[in-house]
Symmetry: C2
Subunit: 383 residues, 2 copies
């Protein structure tokens, strides 16, 4: 277990696939002990979802390192007793079943709260535990589609474009983690747990950001903008000689510095580009003017000059380049998991850097299905 602000906290983890496991991974990285309760024989669905390394799911590994596993059949009396012993010792229960499943098992919030008043119960689901769609099944892409983010992602006039990672699941896991931590804080005063109900679709609305403000201001639903900021210009990907470079000149001062670097004082003096509002109105002409000049140099050459001038810019890295970036490495954002089957696997680190705790360069092992059974039973028996 990691040392961290949640050291001493025990999380019973009924989650599968992504949203829930992402939440409990964040809690584990903050020092909580996470006991993953899995279905006997098959376990977490994501154990069977690729990519595989030596037959083992790297997807499962990346989300479940440092957790413990016990296989329990929650319809079997003996296993239910073990599960309830776990709950009696736990601070937090996290699940991402469809609404109603926990009630059918006899573990709905009301029943749990009566029996385990200090237990915090976090549920992450596609549509949440209330509302007309609550029983509908959902996956990331469904909530990305319904929640509006796909309508503002992609090229103007182009085909539907999903955010390339499962932001529907991940944001639900993150908001659930915020809720769990807030509930832990509150419990120190109130002595009582609470239920946290997070819906993936809700989280998509919560991250629409200024697309909502744009709709409110104009009455028109915004569309996709490729790689351009909706209301700041120039703030986009621009074509240089050998690839694209992102330049984000978010205010007049930065725009002036950018034009100096480009050797284009005419752009600063051009009345069409005098303010951010005017630059937004004339965004296409400004991009053409900039690319006319940027085309004369490489991404690396422009990066060096723009950085020296303090103009925010960056290359468009692929995943390999991002993971090997010296800054990303220096920040310990690529950590290792040692595994007897796959060998060392590199995965994402913890972005919450805390002064009070070390940020270890490796994470605990990936649990085999039911691999923690004996240790967990011994712990339960021990007191």
């Amino acid at each position: 277990m990691a040392d961290g602000p949640l050291s001493g906290i025990v999380v019973v983890d009924l989650t599968r696939v992504l949203a829930g496991p992402y939440c409990t991974m964040v809690l584990a990285d903050l020092g909580a002990r996470v006991i993953k309760v899995e279905t006997p024989k098959t376990g977490d669905d994501s154990r069977h979802i690729g990519p595989f390394i030596e037959g083992k799911s790297a997807y499962f590994m990346s989300l479940n390192r440092g957790k413990e596993s016990i296989a329990l059949n929650l319809k079997d009396d003996a296993d239910r007793r073990i599960f309830e012993d776990l709950l009696a010792r736990a601070d937090v229960l996290v699940e991402n079943y469809r609404p109603g499943v926990m009630e059918k098992l006899g573990y709905g919030w009301e029943a749990l709260h009566e029996r385990f008043p200090r237990l915090i119960y976090a549920a992450a689901s596609g549509f949440g535990h209330t509302g007309p769609y609550k029983t509908r099944p959902a996956y990331d892409m469904v909530v990305q589609a319904m929640g509006g983010i796909m309508s503002i992602t992609g090229q103007p006039g182009g085909p539907p474009t999903r955010v390339g990672s499962s932001i529907g699941d991940i944001t639900a896991g993150m908001f659930a983690a915020i809720g769990v931590n807030a509930a832990l804080y509150r419990r120190t005063a109130s002595g009582e747990g609470m239920k946290i109900d997070v819906a993936m679709l809700d989280c998509q609305i919560a991250i629409l950001e200024n697309a909502i403000a744009r709709y409110a201001a104009t009455g028109v639903a915004p569309g996709p903008l490729g790689a351009r900021h909706p209301s700041i210009t120039p703030f986009a990907a621009f074509r240089a000689q050998d690839g694209y470079i992102v330049i984000a000149a978010g205010n007049n001062g930065l725009f002036e510095r950018l034009c100096e670097v480009l050797g284009r004082p005419d752009l600063v003096q051009d009345p069409d580009f005098a303010t951010n509002d005017l630059r937004c109105q004339n965004v296409d002409r400004l991009a053409r003017e900039m690319e006319f000049t940027l085309g004369g140099g490489t991404v690396a050459a422009w990066m060096e000059k723009l950085e020296a001038a303090g103009v925010p810019c960056g290359p468009i890295n692929n995943v390999e380049q991002a993971l090997h970036d010296p800054h990303v490495r220096a920040r310990n954002m690529v950590v290792k998991v040692d595994d007897p089957v796959t060998g060392t696997l590199e995965i994402a680190g913890n972005p919450i850097k805390l002064s009070a705790y070390a940020d270890p360069p490796s994470r605990g092992p990936v649990p085999d299905l039911d691999g923690g059974r004996q240790a967990i039973l011994d712990w339960l028996a021990g007191g």
Copy 2:
């Protein structure tokens, strides 16, 4: 102020634009009192970023409702005394300056921690407070580009595509909020605050999800996939008669049900589609077969049949449709802010639904620059 798990917590908020204000908005929605300390005369940059309604930034409004504002010049002795009085009363300080700015003001973490040992200090910045790029300026699009998510978002072979909302800022705000809550919990035992250092670039690595596992398994950096899941098939946007529909049949059982709805038992029996792995290998042919049938009906008609069969699916809503969806409304994910200048503005609600607290349908007013000065000074004087 909202009633919530952070009721009684005072946050001094030096943040500007998006990442930091998003963090303190989440804290405010959890019940914290957020006192926004702004630069005299100009205030938060986002007050001057569109879209505007009646001259007022709807962007600023959506992120800062329910906060209080006081304008302080942190280089002026009298204002510094007020600021330090605030810190003496505060639980949390959040800022998103570039690293080094707080030190220059004499408010670096070491100095703050010595003087205010219980104060929790959260910094959200582009690249964090350590590492070779720490002093570089950053904006959302820069970290989206450098962190790899742009390389996996968009159409195969197409131009660079940014995630349509500022996920670089928003995830940094969310991880900072997780850190603040965890630190509040820990402080109840330790009596001490800690520093939370969150970098936008780090957060982009943290949300790459299975793109990292795919790279680890294959050694090849994954590219963009349009609107298709990388390792589950069929799980994409498909063209129907009058538009696109997302269908996410994540396992064999769902695939069989989907084929039943389509009236295409031949697809289930096709050896090319017998397992998820095989379906991934033959993804293009399966999409063609499905669209051949889907083209014969409307999105709404297919939605009805697929829902009845329990196959996860959804329309691709634009922002207007998403905000008016009856489920989104039932979940109180669109809340109101009343403003004397703009009238009522609809903004995103809080996705963290807590059993112990009501989820009010409106939020507190948007502060005018320095609008809370007298009340804040009176509060400081009062004890």
